[in-house]
Every structure is written in C-alpha cells, then in structure tokens.
Symmetry: C2
Subunit: 452 residues, 2 copies
C-alpha cells in the first residue's frame, strides 16, 4: 500500500526549537536605533516585548527548550502530517518525489499559531494578561486570538479597515476565540484619531494598524505588550518546529530533501521549514537547494537592494539589515496578502546574500494554476501564499521530468485557503492580473531607504 | 505526557465497511413504490444508480470490502484522528472522558466525502463518466465535486439559488474542483423552466434542485447518474468507516464508549459513528447509550410519527419508513442547514423505534454556546450541525460531574465551520433565534403523510 501520510509519533515531537544564530556563516548584523543608527540594546525592546522573547531574540544557544505549557498547546494539532504528494507526482509524470509539510491543519489554518502560542506564553509568565497586534487579511490576528484564549489572556486586534469590512469571516473567527477586533484607523488611539480627522474615508493600511497597536502597548504603563507575527529572530525560532518535525518524518521513511521550498512574506514559515536543514549544508557539506519564493508583484529579494531599512511605514521600528523595496513601498493588491511586505527577516536576507539560499519570484496566475493542480490531486485548497511554494515545487518536479532526475522535493504548505475563496473566484473567472514591477516604481520606492 | 491525538496506523485502516442490515433486531421495512405502495424492486432504481450501489442497498453481507481504488483516495485524509478533548473536560470540570472523531479534516471539510468517493467509484466502474446532484448549503456538492475530480468524472451540481447567491465561497470551492455549478431553478431542465416561468423571483429550494438533478439523469439515456448524500442504506454503509476507525482507536488506548453521540439530518454521519458499535449492544449485551441529536426547529425523531413518507417534496422518491414531519414540511432557517430535513434514514428510524437508540432535540443558541466552548478549548471551529453533537456531549459530561461518574463519551465531529462564519457572526451579535415548533404547525405538516 501507498503511505500518503507520514505521522510523527507524538512522543517524538521536538521539545526544543532550533536557533540558527550560532550557525550563521557571517556575524548577524544588529538592529540599529532608528535615530542614532547605533546597535540597539535588548532592553530597548522591553516596552514592547517580555524578557523571555527578548532573550530569544539574541540567544547564542543552538537549542532552546520548549516549555511544557507550550508543548501542551502545540499538541492540539502537532506534530503536523508530512504528506507524499503521490497524486500530484502522477499528474506531472515526474520521477521526483514531492513531500509537503501540512501546516494548514492548525486551528488557525496556518503556521502562524506556532509562534503566537509561544509569544502568548512568554508574556503570560512575565505577568502580562493583555496583548495587542495588527492584522491585514486576518491570518495573524486569528492565530494570536486563539493563543490568547489558550492562556486566558485578552487580545486586541487592529484590523485594517478594508479587510474588516470585506473579510467579515476572518473577523468572526477572531471574535469566536474571544478577541476584541477593532477596525483601523480607530478612535481608540491618538494616531488613529489623527488619521481619521485627516482622511475620514481611508481604507486603512497595515502601517497605520501597527502604529495603533504599538501606541496601545507603549501607553499602557507595561500592562499591555505588543506581538509581531514574522520577521524577528524569536518568531523564526518558534517556526523551526516545522522543519525539525519534517526532518524526523523524512528520516523515518529513509529520505532526505534535495530541494526545500517555502513562500516568503516576512520569512517565518520559510525559515521554519528550511533552517533546521541549514547546518547540514554549511557544516556537513550536504547539497541542498533552498528556494525562497516571492511574488513578482513584491520582489523583495530578487530585485531589492540589501540594506538597512525600517520594518514599518511609520519608521517606529529599529533599522533592520534586509532586502527591501523601501519602507514606503505599497505592493499591488495581489491575493497573497501575507506576501505583501516591503522587506524580509534579517536572517533570511543574510542567508540569501551569502548564497546559502536562493530567491525566485513567480506571477499570480501561474501560482493559482498550481493551486488548482494541487487541490485537484491532493484535495486541499491551499492559501494563495502557499501556492507560491507549490508553483516552484511543481516547476522543480517538471525540471526533473526533463532531466530524468528523481530528486526529493520538500515544500511547506503554510496554510489552507478556506478564507480566500474570493481569490479563487477571481482566478476562475479570469479576472486575476499578473504584476511585473516597473523599474521606475522600484527606483522611486528604493529612494526612501535611509543612507548615512 | 498527554496523548491528545490517537492516530490509527494507516496500515490498520479498515478495508471493509460494516453493513448493519443483517444485524437489525427486526426486519428492514422495504421502500414502497410511490404509486402502487408495493415493495420496490432493486432494478427500479437502476435509472438513477449503478449496479454496485444498488447491490449494497440490499446486501445481506455484514462486511463489504472497500475496493483498492477507494482506499487509495480515502488515504488522502483517512484514517482521521480520534481526539481526547482534555481541555474541554478541564473547562467543564467533569470526571467524564470526552473523545471525538475528527471528520472535519477531510478535503471537503466533512464526513460527506466518505460516500461521495465510493459513489463516484461505483459509477465510474459501471462506465458512467458524469454525475449530477443537488446541494443546499454546499457541503454535499463540494464532496461530490472532489470525488468526481479524483476519478476524472464530470460533476454537475444544482445549487439552491439563495445559497448560490449568498454562499459564493462554497460555489467557488466546487468550481475549484472542476464542477459545473448551476443556480436552481435553471433553464437547463424542463422542471426548472416551469418553475422559472411560474415564479421568476423564487429563491429556489432543495426540493426543486433534486427534481432538476433527477430529471437530468432520467433524460440522459443512461449516460448520467444521480447521487444522493444521505438517507439511503448504501450511503450509511460508506460512513461506517468512521465508527470502525474510532472503535480501533479507542481500543488502542484501552477504552470503550458508554455514550456515542452524533447529529442527525438524514442520518449518515450519525450512522457512521454508531452502527459499528450496535452489534456489541444487541449481541454482547454492552450498555451503550446511543444519542441521535436533532434541532428543536426540525424535531423529526422526537416529535414526528413513525410512518411511510416520501423522501422529497416532489414525491418522486419511493416511500420510506421513517420518522417524518411530512414531506411538505419546511423547517425554519436555522444555520445547521444539514439538519433541515423532514425525515430520516430508515435504518436510524428503526433503531430509535426499537429503543436501541434514543433521540434528543436541542435549541440553536445552546448549540452555538457549545460550539464556542469547543472552539476555545479544542481550537477547532465546528460546523453548526456538529455543534448539536457537541452540545449533548457537554450535557452528558455535566451530568457526570453531578453524579461523579467517569463515563467515556464519544461524539462525531462531522465537519468544520470555516464556511459557516455568518452563523457565528449572527450568534456573537445576539441575533440567533431559538425555535420550538408549535403543535399546530406540526399537525398541519403531518397531514401530507400518505395513509392507506
């Protein structure tokens, strides 16, 4: 019989995250103070984050134990299944073996819950009972809502107005888990009131929502902390459980990947699936092709410069070394909302820069073609973001068909598309546009990158 | 550590369905011809169904082998996990053990795929390449669309107009799997055109959609067959894999249920979770409390008479012995669309009538309260239909809290609620109504039940 699903014995679920910081090929470029341009000290972050997370942000430890309380929540859906995509392989007629790690089975429907649970926990044990964050399409807001519920904490989510109005299902999902969801800009913050006075009809933006959430934390006298869903080292750390499990699962069937693929917005799910394999390449000389996939509409790593830039539009964050299209860059409205970010995690950027990994950009329509091929063979409707990884996995498998190689391809299915059916609707009715950014747009966006 | 998830080794997945027909405590009351009232012959069904399914409808075999081709598709999501709801138990403070079989992990998001795959297969091997069916909210249409895609067949779904317009996501889901979805009433059938001419503004109904789908099959000269998602013996047979797996999973942790619970619309998911345990009660004298849960808005088994009645509003089906509110009965618009059926499967009705099982009815608001308790502890947003089973599982667990008994409670989580967030929205904003049918409504509905 055919083993479609490779389960990891729950007793063998990893009990430590993998921290890539001590294994980097070059030193980690520190975040810089947005004004002084001096390396920022960990305690400068204490207004937003609890000590446990700040420690992890700079930890030199390769393995960081996962506390039992987090393990207990992880066990609601972890270990996640690793699947061999036999039916997709057959459709493609490829000699390649295609495996995918199915993170869509989490309660929030994506990998985001791996870090939201950890972040809620470290806040809780430091005496915090209230978290605030922003959400665009709603994936991250959902994940933090569920995590806060699991640790009996309050959660306030600033949801970009256009999504709040157009994606009522995501809002209801957050409310089902007890979160307070506020349309942003709102009258609950000074910044929100300022924007509302200036542009009462604005659709809102992630930049505005971030500013509102951060304002709440800063003005709370330490009562409320802020939570971020990607980019930072501690977020990527928590996602390493994806790759650690996948590695153990592949080992259990005597396999090892030649290619590891993930989609990249901020970079956390991609880091999750790839980082645990990186030491094998750097220290043991294994040949592994790590492919970071981004949309041509937001070609951060394939076309942006490697530079220090702000993480947000409002320039409230430290300067981070990264590939960036400029913090003012507003990407076209593609349906993979999670990939519409001007920058990328420093850790991912560094590894691409150093040639340990490579980045490719793909168009929206080919991505949805891949989503349909995947859905119709594997039965799972993927999130448009995950579709980017699927597209490249299919492309790699087709290359194997030409060359006759039977490579082992592993990709991360970061989430399902149950709340993205409008995107499928647009694709099926031929209404999706493909975007290729013009150089002039890119040049003008890059101008805002700080130089000194 | 805590074992939340009890996986069944894929190699131990049952390779035969359980057919309850030979184990019934009294003879099975045959379907009757709608006009002559004589028992109907199997071949009278051949215009709608292929030989393989008609055979199963009347088979005296206790075990019916699952063909390898079906097993191969089942393996895309089966065996499904059995979960111990530790967090829910803790919230309730109950000494009871609560287990649930998680059928929501299927590609279509519910148990329906267990039978749609089998039905597509038996049609395919009899030379049929095209199936037609109706769908209300879209669960069954989605399941048949996916099944047809897996066997490379065409699928046409008549979707009730009001759902077609109000539930575009379910429609997109079916289209993603390649189905042709037609708003019903439509101009593609004689019956549809007649209705459109008479009532151009109708919202449509399941009764009309059934008639359209059946007309297509009947007029196709054997090219197109019709497919039904519940009620019939062969449909319930295919669902037995739910209970067979659950039984093996409980056995693997040394447990056995005192109470088995499922929600009942047509009865197929309920039959699936319960029937494999029935011989233990009837033949081995095990004390098992089987609870069939229905909405108070559609109290078929708790308030309807046990009688022969039509399966559809249009009186096109044979007369089936069942509990019924009358084939003309139109239940209030509760959100558990899958439970809005005037009748129930003959097999379930018979076992309730014989006292082997019992039926209870619950209100909509308490159901959603239970859905939220479940979501907030177990992390899964349940379908409103499944919420009925959860409500009673919680009630039984609370009884244990009072009595101090530590019963083992098993229920079927028939599906997730990702496409039902409008219902959650209504509940969260306090807009859900509870319905208790008035006797006069019931009396008038019952008047249409044929007497002779």
């Amino acid at each position: 019989m055919t083993d479609y699903t490779i389960h990891l014995d729950p007793k063998k679920m990893p009990d430590a995250w993998y921290n890539i910081l001590p294994d980097l090929p070059v030193p980690f470029p520190p975040p810089l103070h947005p004004v002084t341009h001096e390396p920022i000290t960990p305690d400068a972050l204490s207004m937003l984050f609890p000590p446990g997370l700040i420690e992890q942000e700079v930890s030199p430890q390769r393995e960081i134990s996962i506390p039992g309380e987090i393990m207990d929540v992880y066990r609601l859906w972890r270990p996640t299944p690793l699947r061999r995509a036999y039916r997709l392989e057959k459709l493609l007629g490829t000699p390649a073996k295609i495996y995918y790690k199915n993170e869509s089975v989490s309660p929030s429907g994506s990998h985001k819950l791996n870090t939201s649970v950890a972040q809620a926990y470290y806040n809780k044990v430091s005496g915090i009972n209230q978290l605030t964050t922003e959400t665009g399409a709603g994936q991250w807001g959902s994940a933090l809502s569920i995590a806060c519920r699991m640790f009996d904490m309050e959660c306030t989510v600033y949801m970009v107005r256009v999504s709040f109005e157009q994606k009522p299902y995501r809002r209801s999902l957050m409310q089902t888990f007890g979160a307070k969801v506020i349309s942003s800009p709102s009258d609950t913050t000074e910044f929100g009131r300022k924007i509302l006075a200036e542009q009462p009809d604005t659709t809102g933006s992630l930049g505005i929502a971030i500013s509102e959430a951060i304002e709440v934390a800063i003005k709370s006298n330490g009562k409320v902390k802020y939570s971020l869903g990607s980019v930072l080292n501690h977020v990527l750390l928590h996602q390493s459980i994806i790759g650690l499990e996948a590695k153990a699962q592949l080992e259990s069937v005597g396999d090892y990947p030649d290619v590891v693929i993930g989609c990249v917005g901020g970079g956390s799910n991609y880091a999750g699936i790839t980082f645990p394999f990186v030491p094998d390449k750097l220290q043991k000389g294994k040949h592994i092709d790590f492919i970071a996939v981004e949309p041509t509409a937001c070609p951060t790593m394939t076309r942006g410069p490697y530079a220090y830039d702000y993480g947000d539009t409002g320039k409230m964050t430290p300067l981070l070394k990264q590939y960036t299209l400029g913090h003012n860059f507003i990407p076209p409205g593609i349906h993979a909302g999670g990939l519409r970010y001007h920058g990328v995690a420093t850790l991912v950027a560094l590894l691409v820069k150093e040639g340990v990994m490579r980045a490719v950009a793909v168009h929206q329509n080919p991505v949805f073609r891949a989503c349909l091929m995947f859905a119709q063979t594997e039965g799972i409707v993927p999130a448009p973001e995950s579709g980017h990884a699927i597209r490249v996995a299919i492309d790699e498998a087709l290359k194997c068909k030409e060359s006759g190689e039977s490579k082992t391809i592993l990709f991360n299915l970061s989430g399902h598309g149950h709340f993205d059916m409008t995107a499928y609707d647009a694709y099926l009715s031929g209404k999706l546009e493909d975007y290729e950014l013009e150089d002039t747009v890119l040049k003008s966006a890059e101008k805002c990158i700080p130089k000194w």
